[in-house]
Symmetry: D2
Subunit: 233 residues, 4 copies
Amino acid sequence: MNIQKVSLQVSLLSPPSSPLKIIADSARITRGIEESHYTDQDYFHLLYKLGHHSVMEHVCFSFRIEGISRACSHQLVRFRIGVSFTQRSQRYTNESNLQIIVPPSIEKNPSKYETYIEYIKHLQALYCDLLKTGIPKEDARFLLPNAAATSLIMTMNFRELMHACHLRLCTKAQWEIQQLFQAVKQEMHQYSPFLAHYLQPKCVFQGHCTEVKPCKSKDQIEEEWNQLQNNTL
Amino acid sequence: MNIQKVSLQVSLLSPPSSPLKIIADSARITRGIEESHYTDQDYFHLLYKLGHHSVMEHVCFSFRIEGISRACSHQLVRFRIGVSFTQRSQRYTNESNLQIIVPPSIEKNPSKYETYIEYIKHLQALYCDLLKTGIPKEDARFLLPNAAATSLIMTMNFRELMHACHLRLCTKAQWEIQQLFQAVKQEMHQYSPFLAHYLQPKCVFQGHCTEVKPCKSKDQIEEEWNQLQNNTL
Amino acid sequence: MNIQKVSLQVSLLSPPSSPLKIIADSARITRGIEESHYTDQDYFHLLYKLGHHSVMEHVCFSFRIEGISRACSHQLVRFRIGVSFTQRSQRYTNESNLQIIVPPSIEKNPSKYETYIEYIKHLQALYCDLLKTGIPKEDARFLLPNAAATSLIMTMNFRELMHACHLRLCTKAQWEIQQLFQAVKQEMHQYSPFLAHYLQPKCVFQGHCTEVKPCKSKDQIEEEWNQLQNNTL
Amino acid sequence: MNIQKVSLQVSLLSPPSSPLKIIADSARITRGIEESHYTDQDYFHLLYKLGHHSVMEHVCFSFRIEGISRACSHQLVRFRIGVSFTQRSQRYTNESNLQIIVPPSIEKNPSKYETYIEYIKHLQALYCDLLKTGIPKEDARFLLPNAAATSLIMTMNFRELMHACHLRLCTKAQWEIQQLFQAVKQEMHQYSPFLAHYLQPKCVFQGHCTEVKPCKSKDQIEEEWNQLQNNTL
């Protein structure tokens, strides 16, 4: 029995070798043009700008995600379109050595942090007790907190990845899922700075903010939107 | 601050007035037959038997679901096709008066039950403490257990409802989600015994069981499958 | 054997009785508020404005669509999310009495119109000949033109209906599918002027146009967007 | 102006490099087992047999499809789940040099074949005439027949690919879409004989046939189902 504070880790699994080519070639087929005077990058940008985003579904990315809370995963798996998830199951795994997530608001306060950890240690002891007396794992887990860490594999096509970033890179998104998509964007940046560039919060995508209290001025949003449209962000 | 043990409640919200007619009329359109010698019920059964299930997507049912654990809702929202969910959010609601689910395996053992409740009361106190000292609800909830009750609205078309029942009415499904779909089937039975009849576990649908340890004999499954095919179940 | 020029007909089939109530009640559940000081209409508008559109998936609308070309239906069935189609099948129906759609650009020119009809009559004769000599309907239909009329049942949830209107009410959309969604909007208007109001082309939804040659000025789009945001369109 | 009879061509585009590993590793994560005594192939087979097919969504395959009729593509794009299509558009392409598909039932009869071709040549002439006199391509195409060839890019995850094969490898499926999925299976076989093995018609998948007139005996279906279950097909 053990408790371990863990933090977020995201890694991109064997990504496709030529995503821009597949996307550009798919678009070329719609007009019967096998060749075009655009480079794949320029063509991608044009398609983005014109809103022809369906061709961006032809490339898919798989991520291994570790060290997120079950609170966060519950929200994450609500994405339904162009996405597949496989998640560590508390019904089958023995969580006697619990890994947990600590929210920054609690971590930065030593006394609260101490109580938080102490509390979870008690819970952990009770969870182990229940298992020992024959309660099935799927019932003992009722005691496990939202703080419990989970792992999952997430596969998303690029169109949906842009959509998820619109929602979750917004500074109004819950901190943990925001961090997750920042890490996803970073992994994509390692792989292709060009593609990562198109993973933006919804204000930069739409040119305006729909939140009650925007985090940026109207002018700034318009400027970033213009930069994205002109590929100079 | 208060803890309340709650139990499952499912209610069907303003269901469509003539589901069989919409389904049968949709099927008639494929062959250009405005009239047919089949009754809507007989036609529905024929479509079921022949595997023409896409027409069953034209009717949707909304359920209000209350008193399920967050453990169960996390699993439930994994359905992605032909379904929409809206769920009570622990980010916005104050859970100082926590409602909880108790697994039967724990409830039937008085001493375990007592410890379970006591434990959750401590947690509850800590959750309230955190809120008082300014921790946001979305962070304090990291302490809330999987046992916490949630509410949601679920809208499914009938084809997906059949599919969800194939998976979740199976006796190998986790007890809570199994109870949920039994309650869903019961609500549907109140509304239309005829339609409810087609909500069956996957063995009765397929004619064989894919679980490692089947709960019924091969003969019994085949008999129930035959009865469903002949509408005499 | 006969040829008949037909035109578009759209009818809404047994719509839900209280769509605004279902949508507003679903949204109320997320925050644990059973009652609110908003009317259902005001709440709907707020949800629309804030971008909380997922609750609009809880109501679905079925339309019977007749008198569209197979060219149009091929494009229509590309919608995949929150939508179900059942379509008249040329594999099973005998199209000896062919119903056809005539594009306005051809109809307004008498000599072209005459040639168009004459041509299709020849085709029709050949189709009937093939059937007589034992060619299966599914092969004889290879001669049928894109102009051939089809019928279908389309069920869409309201969120997807808004999305489809964003794309297909745009004046740059192909004329026939544009007419189709104008007719869909009209049917919705008969049923609920309030809901129909939210079925708008994408420029009015986004506040800007992504087409190469916009049909409206930037100012006009911004004005209409503002009116929609303020519910005064 | 020219007419060309074309035939089906399917090619797999830059497939993923280690599909079995991604699928097996995804499954391992659910139980928290990083290593297992199963090989990736054995684990895949076990997952297939137990019906844990959702992990098979983590690998996607893109196919370039050329030389299918618009009749076939209209049916093909009805697949909605786990699939993306980008198709040559008759609104934008000039079809003066029409490529066509000829059904075998017509091709094998010389006189019918001649009439079929002659008819399409007339149509072709009329299509070209309309374009010359200023009718837009999107309206002139109303004359183009279902026989017109089209091209598309189709991306499917492996779970949906299995599902599409269940439906379209059935000998009762329309001949052209059946040929298409036979060619898809062949391409997959070139790439991975192991994976191609799991692309089977629904009878072999389910263990029984739901068609009115089965093409195989009950015993034969059961034998093939057993062979697939035991990986000896």
